[in-house]
Symmetry: D2
Subunit: 366 residues, 4 copies
């Protein structure tokens, strides 16, 4: 396969004009679009509607080009949005295209992307081993689809899954089923945690023997360093986007990743760039930076309430949610290295790296 | 003179225990304290009372050690607080001590600090040339007190001055005086701008001929790159803290400064450290960082609403004030270079550097 | 004419299911819809995108029923949204239908509604007499369309108009035109004020001789007690919705209004209901309340910072905008009288009632 | 005993000038002050430092008048603050004085107030029956102290108790003790719930047989309709303030209470006033209102997310905490009935009234 990556700025959650221009200029075939991953300028919380507004706006635009219904666009293309452009973070989307290609066999491989969905996850399965196993199976299907044989070649796995909602809780009650929690917001850690463990299991990073319902969102020494998961009330099944370098892929991009020790770990940012085969001394030059196509990272407040021994106020602030503090900080640190504030930084790291650490991946033009 | 700098963490706006420990351990003589510059964990806005709470708490502690009234402590020691610990920023205070010393003549000089106050500024003078000239005179007195003859040896001038309040506006009305504005919050740019121009005039960075009431908070090509000013309703006069390197100073510290091109300018942070004679390749090592005693910087949202060509949402966000976005971003970038989140980052840069640029100063142990 | 009013709850800014149900149940003819006035659950600020999301969602739904494009729906139907459901305020829309009718001549008349638009207002005209006069002319066209001869029969005039945006400011600069202000947010009072004075002039509540560019957003003793105006960056022209009681109207509704002395003026709420011919002692019973079809009110923080001699913190709060405090308070007071939290309360009262007062209108089933 | 109640406005959390004036004017003897209950203008969350600032400021003022240390003032006088002046709520304190008096036997009795503290509550006891029983015993001591024999004469019991903090959790871990939760903020419902059940047990409103660790913050059909409890990290023991009408009390005040069905229950407000023997038709006149000395109420977001069948956004709002929405709404509704925005409205009603209901008490001049 051949993967293309195109970053488009957004002047609002409904701002699709830059993608429209690219398509009208013939930069790429809209029928080749398989996924979009981006940031919208909402608050990132339960009442952040900018994600839904952006999805609807992009579906309407692409329905026009693809001459199909917006719903059909939704079935063909995976839309992943993280709300919250704190600090310097800039609203944007990275559009991924995929074309069949017989080329390949390039040294170190090239960026490959596979997208697989699970069956619908029932409310009583959310945050349980049933969900872990469904995601693990989808991850394995992604490996096969990308032709990646060594899990070490996988650098970023984005999973979107359902969380519990008043409606799904009522449904489970009607059928007399028990749930991991009855608090919709409280179900997020379970939902994000179970899908992250599904990635870890699918990639062989954890042993199934170590897993059980009891350890989900509890035993945080079990994790995947390449998982990035989110949960949303609008979903019924899980959507898995697996990125890696594959010998059977051609194209202009490679991907790498690293682990961020904390929200100010500039060395971690540099390590991710180098892991994607972007060589530089000290810090990237303008020319080096021009080769960076996309950055995907998770930000989290340290559970200790401190970074490098200094207390911060992320967890005690009743005005600004801790995820917003964390995204503002990490987003600025990454941009200070790459020179581009249009990066994907989202929150919530249950079973994604060790506690207080976070994953970062970089897509770089060869 | 010999200047000492002691950074103390604060576990709350009233958290004085670390300073108490240092004094009880005999680390320095409380009678030598002349100033405190720190961050408190409020919102940084008009209803941020953490600054007043911190001042009262420190005055009560020091009144005990100095066996005088809290009011007397207030007269002896300058307290400068910036509210708002966004992102990784850590609540703390840097305590400055000053002792007479006949030593000096060291190559490049050593950190010197002088503190001078102006007469009370009448409401109708706030934001006008009258205030500019009073501050300029205080700056000149500071130069004399530090024995600094070349303004190029001045690296950081912190000024606190009054802003207009409902009470001071009423007083001016009673006396039939006109004001630069009748909006208390709207008077901040004038108050910060006039004191910054006072620094520029006192240091000879601008010509008095170019100055007039009409250009204050208007002609932003006139500025001081070493001024850092704030305005508060509790003040009647202006308090000037001038930091520089003086041949007549001894002690363990030197200061340097640089200009930040934007909120993600890590090179600017490194330049300030090097300007303070901290040499390093690439980025400071842990040992290099251990020599950094204090960082003082200003953060501002770019008036263009964009950084490096990427739009951000600082100015349009109705939930989080733009100054909070800017402090969160710059604070994290600085901490990613120095390794210490306990740094002084405040907002509002009228006539302090060119528009969208901001000043940064570093105090480094020799 | 015969006017219908249908209140629909919204489970999200995109929540159109209740209107869909009403139309599918044949409750009314979607082709008869002329306007929608509602509240969405955003922050009510410059970055509140819930209004645009709601408009797009309703246009898509109605395009399906009316078998036309969403753009065509936008041309046929006026959508007025106020963002910000603080306190108990409930997201909803009141859908107004209009049918021709030869009936009429009923005692006291019946609810009539006319909608007129002005020509596009150029940036340099925003907040000036040019805008005042265009709105006044549209108001007079509305009077003719409703057959209302006595302005005293007009109880509510909602006007949406443009505000200055970075784009429109740039356009004016290109043509060398001067503007009332260069601050987009700062243009809101001028834009809301000029359209409100347009209503006052159109209804003969002020003399044209007293009006000039200089008094707009300045001389607040000139106002209309029935105007409710808003400004949005998405508009180029002004849209006027005039509500009153007309002898030539039939239908089941009457409208009345009153003036709120402050944000806790329950007597003012009761006065508006009685003015719409809803009689009751003390407070409305459940049966009385069932006759209330819609409430439209403006909320504002008192410029004195106090209500009934007690200071409040609306204007000094840096975390929550004063308009949000005011809507939360007034919305709850109105709901405590009517028993229904689904009411329209928006902010900004320049030239709409005297300073610190605010307009309230009630639509009641006969 | 003879109880006095004096409401003082606060121009800031440190604003003690009005109390200073009253004392200097000889309005009452500062040595007679036993309690202060008030609102401060913070955010009401974990990082609201306005409560501590107000306590310190009042202790310093009274230490001057009482010629003792601020710590001694803290031992003599109970300070109860609720942070968060949303909507129209006005920062203030109601100062209660108590003098011995042989008078009494007045019809219906007069306002009596007793204050009792429990022993320190160990972390492992927080939110357990141990805490319930200690509070119940303190309530019984209060009944004896006020000479109230019939619990029906008790109308308001304010309890302040400890919550779990990182420090107290660490202490319990060191001693190998288990806790109801390890989440400091998550311990609030347990802490507030256990102290409320302590009130219910002390007043005989619940049977001890129905109580156990398992039902605390779970079985909400067990409650006291006159309890108002809060939890703070600064406390080690529980402080109980019991208000009722006693035959052995003299003085100018009586107290009454009612239950609020929801945040817009104006009838509930009127019922509380009438229960305190303030008679009026419809709504209180200005003269009636002048007899109201203080209002104490709890505000809570409805667990259903709706009021009177209309959805509100209190629980889903990530920008403004639900307690702030609820206080803004209820505070305005109460003020619309009493005409005075200086009222005590706080959040969190576990085991205080039935779910979604809330207590309200009124102190009225005879």
């Amino acid at each position: 396969m051949e993967i293309g990556a195109h970053k488009v700025a957004m002047n609002a959650p409904s701002g699709v004009s830059e993608l429209e221009r690219l398509i009208e200029a013939g930069t790429f075939d809209p029928a080749a679009i398989v996924a979009s991953i981006g940031k919208t300028e909402g608050n990132g919380g339960a009442n952040d509607f900018t994600r839904g507004f952006a999805t609807l706006s992009y579906q309407l635009l692409l329905a026009r080009f693809l001459e199909c219904s917006p719903e059909e666009v939704g079935r063909r293309i995976a839309f992943v949005w993280s709300g919250g452009c704190e600090g310097v973070l800039s609203p944007h989307a990275t559009i991924f295209t995929r074309k069949p290609s017989s080329a390949g066999g390039l040294p170190g491989g090239r960026l490959a992307l596979a997208i697989e969905v699970t069956r619908d996850i029932r409310p009583e399965e959310a945050g349980t081993m049933a969900q872990v196993e469904e995601v693990a199976a989808a991850v394995k299907r992604c490996l096969a689809a990308t032709g990646i044989t060594d899990p070490a070649d996988v650098h970023y796995v984005q999973v979107k899954g359902p969380l519990l909602t008043p409606a799904s809780i009522a449904d489970a009650d009607k059928r007399g089923k028990t749930l991991v929690t009855r608090d919709p917001n409280g179900s997020k850690p379970y939902a994000r945690g179970a899908t992250a463990l599904g990635v870890a299991l699918g990639l062989g990073e954890v042993e199934v023997a170590d897993l059980s319902d009891a350890i989900i969102a509890k035993r945080f020494d079990l994790f995947s360093p390449v998982a990035s998961t989110s949960a949303g009330g609008e979903l019924k099944n899980c959507e898995v986007l697996l990125f890696g370098n594959s010998a059977s892929a051609s194209g202009a991009f490679r991907i790498g990743h690293a682990v961020l020790a904390d929200a100010i770990d500039a060395d971690g940012v540099r390590a991710a760039l180098r892991d994607a085969d972007l060589p530089f001394d000290c810090n990237p030059t303008r020319d080096d930076a021009d080769r960076i196509a996309a950055i995907f990272a998770k930000a989290e407040a340290s559970p200790t309430g401190a970074i490098r021994g200094r207390r911060n106020t992320m967890l005690s602030d009743a005005d600004i949610n801790y995820e917003r503090h964390a995204r503002a900080a990490l987003g600025a640190v990454i941009a200070s290295v790459t020179g581009d504030p249009a990066i994907f930084v989202s929150g919530g790291t249950e079973h994604q790296c060790a506690p207080s650490e976070a994953p970062i991946a970089a897509v770089v033009r060869v």
